[in-house]
């Protein structure tokens, strides 16, 4: 979702945004009642809008969020506690909007630097660069995993096994391992594994 912009949040150091997000999440969990939660949600929305996000990506992230928040809220509404339902839905909305604001205004390069700095005191024992890289890889692997699953499902359907979970899950698992091995090779080939060794020296 990150876009290079010149907004105040883009200019703020990555560590301060991450710290702000963590503190904000704690505060949001301390708030009670729909009105304070509505104010918090509006603030988070304003923060997100201030980062000038792309409408498409925001809509995609926002739709998933709306569905989850609606489910959480509806559950408490059904149980007869409308106020609690609204509060829970708004809390989820607030935290996700704030996280989106940080995500939209912070490049992966800056995020990586924060992880590297945090792990720096432990560099004698921990592969700090690898830890930073790991977070990027997790984000990168999600759409790739979804693509592999979708292809395995299509292949199973084409062979007439659309109702067999094994016909979908086994190739998905094997291809995911294959993808992981290829990524490992690419990391080595790009010298990123060496970067980690050099970092520990």
């Amino acid at each position: 979702m990150y876009r290079d912009r010149r907004t105040p949040l883009h200019r703020a150091p990555a560590w301060s945004k991450m710290l702000g997000l963590a503190v904000g999440a704690v505060v949001v969990f301390q708030l009670n009642g729909p009105v304070p939660m509505a104010i918090a949600a509006t603030t988070a929305l304003a923060l997100l809008v201030s980062t000038l996000p792309t409408p498409r990506a925001t809509l995609r992230g926002g739709t998933t969020l709306a569905v989850f928040a609606a489910f959480g809220g509806a559950y408490h509404w059904i149980l007869g506690d409308a106020s609690r339902g609204t509060e829970i839905a708004l809390r989820a909305v607030t935290i996700v909007l704030a996280a989106l604001a940080v995500n939209t205004s912070t490049s992966a390069d800056d995020t990586l630097n924060v992880f590297l700095r945090l792990a720096r005191p432990f560099r004698r024992w921990l592969p700090t660069a690898a830890i930073g890289l790991m977070f990027s890889l997790v984000v990168r692997s999600i759409p790739e995993g979804a693509r592999i699953l979708s292809q395995s499902r299509s292949a199973a359907r084409a062979r007439g096994f659309s109702r067999s979970p094994r016909a979908i899950l086994v190739p998905t698992a094997l291809r995911t391992v294959g993808f992981a091995l290829s990524v490992g090779d690419a990391i080595t080939a790009r010298g990123l594994a060496d970067f980690n060794v050099e970092d520990r020296r």
């Binding site: 890289l133 990168r140 990524v183 080939a189 790009r190």
Partner: protein, 234 residues
């Protein structure tokens, strides 16, 4: 300069030979490697970057042993894979190139400038902030190449870089690779591309069975494949 000195590779689990002891020196700017699937040509290419290390013998790049000096060798040798999806790690194009630059460029501003330049040079300047998942196969391969070139290697090893691309991208990526002012070692099934090199190696059953003029190498390879297919039918 790349030197193979009796370098051989075996399968780690079964011990079956993948590449028989190979001795050769590659000094030409354009070298292609052709051969059937599973013949050992990719293993030969991977030895150059240190992705694979020989069980016997040595592979030297500019005098550096790939087994002992893997890190320094990889600074000199960039590697381009068949499927760029596994080579791209960061979420956007610019960030992926910046990742390649982390080792050589310490300042973030300099890194951004250099990454934009690398993307511009390859024709992806307008895709800098685009998610790598939104790029076409050809654009991804270009981005992977930009990542490789931004690290300023003196050699690029490309393992079937155009196999997954359509005709338009195949021609574009192929032309970019051949215009590089550095040494290019390309593994390929594209015989038209293979003959553009200055030297071609034909690999079969783990051995370099022909080494020389690309036109003669392709003729040798066609004959070899013809004899094999006749043998299989008989």
């Amino acid at each position: 300069m790349i030197e193979f000195r009796g370098a051989s590779v075996v399968a780690p689990d079964s011990g079956a030979p993948i590449l028989l002891p190979t001795t050769l020196t590659l000094t030409e700017q354009r070298v292609t490697i052709i051969g059937a699937n599973g013949s050992g040509k990719s293993t030969l290419a991977r030895l150059i970057n240190g992705l694979a290390v020989p069980v016997e013998g040595q592979v030297l790049v500019d005098g550096l042993d790939t087994r002992k000096h893997g890190s320094r060798v990889r600074r000199r040798v960039g590697f381009l894979f068949t499927d760029p999806s596994s080579q791209l790690i960061m979420p956007t194009a610019i960030e992926d190139v910046m990742l390649s630059l982390r080792r050589t460029v310490r300042s973030k501003d300099e890194r951004i400038k250099a990454a934009f330049q690398a993307l511009d040079d390859i024709g992806l300047g307008d895709k800098a902030n685009v998610s790598v998942n939104s790029l076409s196969g050809g654009q991804r391969q270009l981005l992977a190449l930009a990542g490789v070139l931004s690290a300023t290697p003196s050699i690029v090893v490309a393992d079937e870089p155009t196999t997954l691309l359509d005709l338009r991208w195949k021609a574009h990526v192929g032309a970019l690779l051949y215009a590089l002012p550095i040494q290019l070692i390309e593994v390929t099934h594209d015989l038209e591309a293979a003959i553009k090199a200055q030297r071609t190696l034909v690999v079969d059953e783990g051995a370099v069975v022909f080494d020389g003029n690309p036109v003669d190498a392709v003729a040798h390879y066609r004959d070899l494949m013809y004899r094999k297919s006749v043998g299989e039918r008989a």
